[in-house]
Amino acid sequence: MKPSDIVVDVKSAGYRNKLVFENLRIKIPSGKITALLGPNGSGKTTLLKMLFRRIKYSGKILIGFKELAEMSNREIARLISYMGEIALPDMMGLKVFEALLISRSSLYRGLIERQEDIREAEAVLRELGIEHLSERRLDELSSGELRKVVLGMALIKHPKYLLLDEPDSHLDMLSRIEISRIIKKYSGRTTIIIATHDPVFAVNTAEYFVLLRDGRVVDEGNLERIVGNKSIEKTFGVKLKYIYEDNRLVGIIPIYD
């Protein structure tokens, strides 16, 4: 076990009237991209939210040998970035560049950002190739553009742990590929966890897989293992056909019968 791995050993977790997890044990390797793969309602989002204490749990979660329950809010805010859907109609006209600066606000004291924060915002815009969006309002962006901005808002803190909740949802094919490419750039520097229900996006983006169904781990491991065990089939309850190109898995097609 590496010192910055995430170790989840939770007895129970969930919402007020709905238990999602019982006796959940997962180890997420550091510096890699891990995909939480599972159908809707399998507990992916709940698991991500547990990792920054948004969901109550009993048991232990270790983030790099540190007990999550003992960390301060500020420490969690600096260490972890979570990005899911963001509420748009209520933004009252926030611009992309401002949203990026706001995302760095946990890194400085006082109200005024530093030159460094502005440089970081510009760097993120460059890196994601969205410099032209900088002065646009968030509520005027297309969903593909918005996904990239949201990803930028998560990346700008240089978090050690990046939690992405369905970064591929509502996107066309090209945008999915672009998002996947951006995420892969950060592998090695950052421990990234992606929650998704698209196996194609998962296998083309992630290096490690945790397959969830009804709050239980069906299988975890690298690509060879989960394909060999036919775990994706078990997780989703469908028959699949795998497509390889140059010995690389490039596509997964569900069989309709």
Partner: protein, 329 residues
């Protein structure tokens, strides 16, 4: 880097321009009274207090209005719409009814704050019970507002024998300005400014979303409730002085956002406060001049609150139309 205007520069430019406008207006206020009635030191003192009171109330209402809008993520609300002001007025009336003596202003302010808080809690509970959408808040506010202002109107007839100026509380006016208002209003302004400093960053996170705020280290529900209640209570307290003044808290943040071209909560509340001061001072000057002063011979004046509503209400309607046109709702 140079294309991005920095926080510091932007806010400096706008506050300077607006403060210059404000001082011009203050000067104008003095000038008008000089033209109208000649110069007496009593009149000058009265004018000074009135100008100060109108600006400070405008500042408080504008600033806390911006905080209310951001924390509820609802551009359609202010103290008046949510019924907070009416709750404050009702509490003041009730206090006059049960107490025989003329009360100290500080005590009245606390009473008004409690009344506003009660009204706000009712509005929030009703609005959240029906889903908590922006329209739900407006509708719940209308209900609470009507309830309290109706009751206040009733009480005002009974209380009038104890305080002849009490009817002004219903519409909001600076006619009965008292030197005692000024330190109290300065105190409330400082309170609202402190609230702004501590809430600017969490409000920005809340603007993006609850999950996002939680991840930034803020408890979204606690933060939102705290900011709404505090800014509501501060806004309600001013009715103890000048009565119920609507729409300043609604209009000023919109003008501030328009001027700044952003809804960044580090800038909007400050500029909204200055805009509010300007608007209310302008309305008060206008309210004096429309019937009295050098233009007409008749005696008396229109309450500033009436002037503000005259301009504020159509503005509110236009915001609503713009907001819902795109939604098809």
């Amino acid at each position: 880097m140079s294309i991005y205007r920095l926080f510091k520069r932007k806010i400096l430019v706008f506050s300077t321009i607006l403060l210059l406008l404000l001082s011009a207006l203050v000067l104008l206020g003095f000038l008008f009274i000089h033209l109208g009635y000649g110069s007496s030191s009593i009149i000058y003192e009265y004018r000074f207090n009135r100008i100060m009171a109108a600006s400070l109330v405008g500042l408080i209402l504008g600033l806390t209005g911006a905080l209310l809008q951001s924390s509820l993520r609802n551009p359609l609300v202010d103290h008046y719409i949510l019924g907070i002001g009416s709750g404050g007025v009702f509490a003041v009336m009730l206090f006059y009814l049960v107490s025989s003596a003329t009360a100290a202003l500080a005590l009245l302010t606390i009473v008004a704050g409690i009344g506003g808080l009660a009204a706000l809690i009712i509005t929030i509970m009703v609005a959240e019970a029906v889903g908590g959408s922006d329209v739900a808040y407006v509708l719940a506010g209308i209900g609470v507002n009507s309830m309290f202002s109706g009751a206040s109107l009733l009480l005002s007839y009974i209380v009038a024998s104890k305080n002849p100026f009490i009817a002004y509380a219903l519409v909001g006016s600076f006619v009965a300005v008292d030197p005692g208002w000024i330190p109290l209003l300065i105190f409330l302004s400082i309170l609202s400014f402190i609230l702004y400093i501590f809430t600017a960053k969490p409000l920005n996170a809340l603007l993006i979303g609850d999950e996002y705020a939680a991840q930034q280290g803020y408890n979204p529900r606690v933060a939102r409730l705290l900011i709404v209640l505090l800014s509501g209570v501060i806004g309600a307290s001013v009715v103890a002085c000048c009565g119920l003044i609507g729409f300043i808290g609604l209009v000023s943040p919109h003008i501030a956002r328009l001027l700044l071209g952003t809804s960044d909560n580090r800038m909007v509340p400050v500029i909204a406060g200055i805009v509010g001061a300007l608007l209310l001072l302008l309305s008060d000057n206008f309210s004096r001049l429309i019937l009295a002063g050098p233009f007409l011979v008749s005696v008396g004046e229109v309450p500033a609150g009436a002037i503000v509503s005259l301009f504020g209400a159509p503005f509110f309607l236009s915001i609503m139309i713009r907001r819902f046109r795109g939604r098809g709702a």
